[in-house]
């Protein structure tokens, strides 16, 4: 594959996360509006200043991004709806960056958010995809827990990973979350608690699973010139990839689409995995974080458990990973789960991460994974961010 054109001149600014709530009586519209307002305020802009709008959400029904323009009083000349769940931030960024480079829009707000009512997770599952309806739900209706349990089971068999290997990821993320006041989880987690937790879908237990909740995440994409004239801290986009339905003939998913594009990613970024100051993986289950670390070139396939065994995964460690606590400890606010790592990475490389700040962080890898359509996640994305201007 030829190296894609550079993303130079593009700035990512005004990262904003709402606090998350376990259950909300408000709608997705409410949460998306809250994050959008927060991001615009951080940039000192008004809604009328936006000319591009992009949204990812599962619970807007019957609305889409179109309905939101009228609902929120926006008048964009560039509009996009991204139904890619955990991969949405990387995909959103690619599209928005190109639109800004091409002049199709000057200031684009990228927002992801969902609400969570008492019964909305069950309802979301019941209408998730045709293949899931036909071929997955009738078999125990375990939802994503069961799907990822099967992948985890196979991964453990194939590569000899143990529950402790996954536990290390979860325990470190909880430590990170305790430094993030917005995180849903507020209590420390020990390895013992992780191992003794109630089983959910063997070999997956309680702390391997995310907590569905309500919340939203947002950031703005504009030109570097504009960011500088507004005097805003900003991140640059060094490289970005996406891929869908990769390795369709693998009998079960042990690798994701990143493997097809990882060389392009690092080539375009002009740097390698070892140069990253922090890594944000999509962590709906720890096995997927392990897969991303392998597939994005930090170690060879199957070496994830050994690679992570002697790494410090907390904010203070030598391999800072999911610094805000990720979804496992921060909570999964629907499609915002696809944005949580991106928004945190923008904060990190612009020096705005407060309690979870990795000292001097300049380069971050953010990776996304989404949409278990039947038996595996179909969408993968990744982006390398670097510091533009720090706060």
């Amino acid at each position: 594959m030829a190296r894609p054109a550079s993303y130079e001149g593009v700035a990512l600014v005004a990262p904003f996360s709402t606090p998350y709530q376990r259950y909300s009586i408000d709608t997705a519209h409410h949460w998306i509006a809250t994050a959008l307002r927060g991001s615009l305020r951080a940039a000192g802009l008004k809604p009328a200043d936006l000319d591009g709008f992009q949204v990812a959400s599962f619970t807007l029904f019957p609305d889409t991004a179109v309905g939101l323009t009228q609902h929120l009083g926006l008048c964009p000349r560039w509009l996009d709806h991204i139904p890619m769940g955990g991969a949405s931030a990387g995909v959103a960024l690619r599209r928005a960056a190109r639109a800004v480079q091409a002049g199709d829009a000057e200031i684009i707000a990228c927002v992801a958010g969902d609400t969570n009512h008492i019964d909305s997770f069950r309802q979301l599952l019941s209408s998730f995809s045709r293949f899931a309806m036909d071929a997955s739900y009738p078999y125990g209706y375990g939802g994503p827990n069961a799907s990822f349990a099967l992948l985890t089971d196979r991964y453990m068999t194939e590569y000899g990973a143990t529950r402790e290997d996954f536990g290390r990821i979860c325990v470190a993320q909880r430590a990170n979350a305790l430094k993030n006041p917005n995180a849903v989880m507020k209590k420390p987690l020990t390895m013992e608690q992780y191992l003794d937790a109630r089983p959910i879908a063997d070999p997956i237990a309680l702390f391997d699973c995310v907590m569905p909740c309500a919340g939203a995440e947002a950031f703005l994409v504009m030109s570097e010139d504009r960011a500088q004239s507004l005097n805003l801290p900003y991140a640059r986009l060094a490289a970005a990839i996406e891929r869908h339905n990769a390795h369709a003939d693998d009998p079960i998913q042990l690798r994701g689409g990143w493997t097809m594009d990882v060389d392009v990613l690092w080539d375009q970024a002009g740097m390698g995995p070892q140069e990253m100051d922090l890594v944000q993986t999509y962590d709906d289950y720890p096995v997927i974080s392990m897969m991303q670390i392998e597939d994005l070139g930090f170690c060879a396939k199957g070496d994830g458990p050994a690679f992570l065994r002697d790494k410090g995964l907390t904010v203070a460690g030598d391999f800072p990973h999911n610094t805000s606590g990720g979804q496992l400890s921060g909570g999964q606010a629907g499609a915002a789960g696809g944005f949580i790592g991106m928004v945190e990475a923008i904060r990190q490389v612009t020096g705005q991460a407060d309690g979870t700040q990795v000292p001097g962080a300049e380069r971050a890898l953010v990776s996304g994974f989404g949409m278990i359509n039947f038996d595996r996640g179909l969408c993968s994305s990744a982006a390398v961010l670097t510091s533009g201007a720090r706060a």
């Binding site: 309806m133 071929a135 009738p138 939802g143 089971d153 068999t157 089983p199 009998p251 039947f374 038996d375």
Partner: protein, 418 residues
């Protein structure tokens, strides 16, 4: 090895019957072909007519070559269990009530990977046999069984839910006078039925099978399907412990329209074959539906014995065929009405029988009562919806599926007249 089921204890009358809940029913149209094959006990998937790739989940276009010609074909059952999980919690009530639930990923020898229910006797990473069954929503699901049979494997709770096995169940044969009644009672008894009841119309009239039924320990109780009061009376007495109902009541006479001088026999045919079914369903159906989740001996199935003439009119039993077509159509309505409870409707189609005198002038082959009884029990054990018993029924089924109009033309030839 599966632990053998013990006979359920007597029901505590103070206890509330568990309301039936169901696994998900919604499917795409393509996926209903898997259900249609499972309804007859076959495991079929789509194989691309252009490139040969086997598809799963069911699709509208080939994932290798985009062909839209994806005929359904029976598949080899062999596969390997490559991953498994035991689901401990689910937002779906049906599974929540049955946790923990074992499910796994099976790589088929024919190519694709499927998600399947896993029988308790399957070992980790073992070779398995895939079979397609109807679940309690009446939809086809795939089940991974041990490669070779294990003792009591049908007693696994999973298999009980995917069948209407007569074992430990109480069965009502609606007409003791039917030529098939004693063979049925014998087969059901052999299959482990707990109690067999038989309804008996016109008790004052002797018939040869009675002694045989009595010798088998069948409880013979008065009921005439043409008499609403008698049907309701028996339902009041044993409706609460009827787990399987097999409707053997049948009025059979030769003749079409012009062969008969009046509508007398036609009236009897409708009274027994059509309205009799309706009376039985109105009296026994609601109680059976309410008990469809009642433990080991939950109400499980409603069985209709239907002439294959129900599909396409079969002379010289033209008027009788019409009554069977009516009963068949009514059985489809019953299916829809029973569906929310999980109670199954199984139709057993058959051609001319050996034991019914009215078929005497017809040439062989004929269906024996023994063969019919075996088909009924086998169908219940496999949870089937449609059973085709004997060569004639299977032949007519295939011809009907090939082209119903051609079959009709063949069945209505005028003969070489003047």
């Amino acid at each position: 090895m599966t632990h053998p089921l013990s006979p359920p204890p007597r029901k505590d009358p103070q206890k509330r019957s568990v309301s039936p809940t169901r696994p998900p029913e919604v499917r795409s149209r393509a996926a209903l072909h898997l259900t249609a094959a499972a309804a007859e006990g076959r495991f079929a998937l789509q194989r691309c007519a252009d490139c040969g790739k086997v598809q799963y989940p069911p699709r509208d276009a080939c994932s290798a070559c985009l062909s839209t010609d994806l005929p359904w074909q029976d598949m080899a059952p062999g596969g390997t269990l490559i991953a498994e999980t035991t689901v401990q919690t689910s937002p779906r009530l049906y599974f929540r009530e049955r946790m923990p639930w074992r499910a796994g990923t099976v790589q088929l020898d024919d190519g694709p990977t499927v998600l399947a229910h896993i029988h308790g006797d399957v070992a980790r990473h073992a070779r398995v046999r895939i079979t397609a069954r109807l679940d309690q929503s009446g939809q086809g699901v795939l089940v991974a069984l041990p490669e070779t049979d294990t003792p009591n494997m049908e007693d696994d709770p999973l298999m009980r839910a995917l069948s209407a096995d007569p074992k430990h169940r109480r069965v009502l044969i609606t007409d003791a006078r039917s030529a098939q009644a004693s063979a049925l009672a014998r087969a059901l008894q052999k299959a482990g039925a707990a109690i067999i009841f038989a309804g008996e119309p016109e008790s004052w009239r002797p018939y040869p099978q009675r002694a045989e039924l009595e010798a088998l320990g069948v409880q013979i109780l008065p009921m005439d399907v043409t008499d609403t009061a008698s049907v309701q009376k028996l339902a009041g007495e044993i409706g609460g412990k009827t787990d399987i109902l097999i409707n053997t009541a049948r009025f059979l006479r030769p003749g079409g329209v012009l062969d008969r001088g009046d509508t007398g026999f036609a009236r009897d045919e409708l009274e027994v074959n059509y309205l009799g079914l309706m009376r039985l369903a109105q009296a026994f159906g609601p109680g059976m539906c309410a008990r469809a989740a009642d433990g080991v001996n939950a109400a499980a199935a409603w069985v209709n014995l239907l002439s294959v003439g129900a599909l396409s009119n079969a002379r010289p039993f033209g008027a009788y065929s019409a009554s069977q077509a009516g009963a068949y159509s009514l059985s489809q309505s019953l299916r829809a009405e029973f569906r929310p409870s999980g109670l199954r409707v199984m139709n057993v189609f058959f051609g001319p029988t050996e034991e019914d005198d009215w078929y005497q002038p017809l040439p062989p082959p004929r269906v024996t009562a023994y063969a019919l009884a075996r088909s009924v029990v086998d169908g219940l054990q496999r949870g089937l919806e449609d059973v085709w018993c004997g060569d004639i029924a299977q032949d007519l089924r295939d011809r009907f599926r090939r082209d119903p109009k051609v079959l009709e033309r063949e069945m209505t030839l005028g003969g070489e007249g003047a």
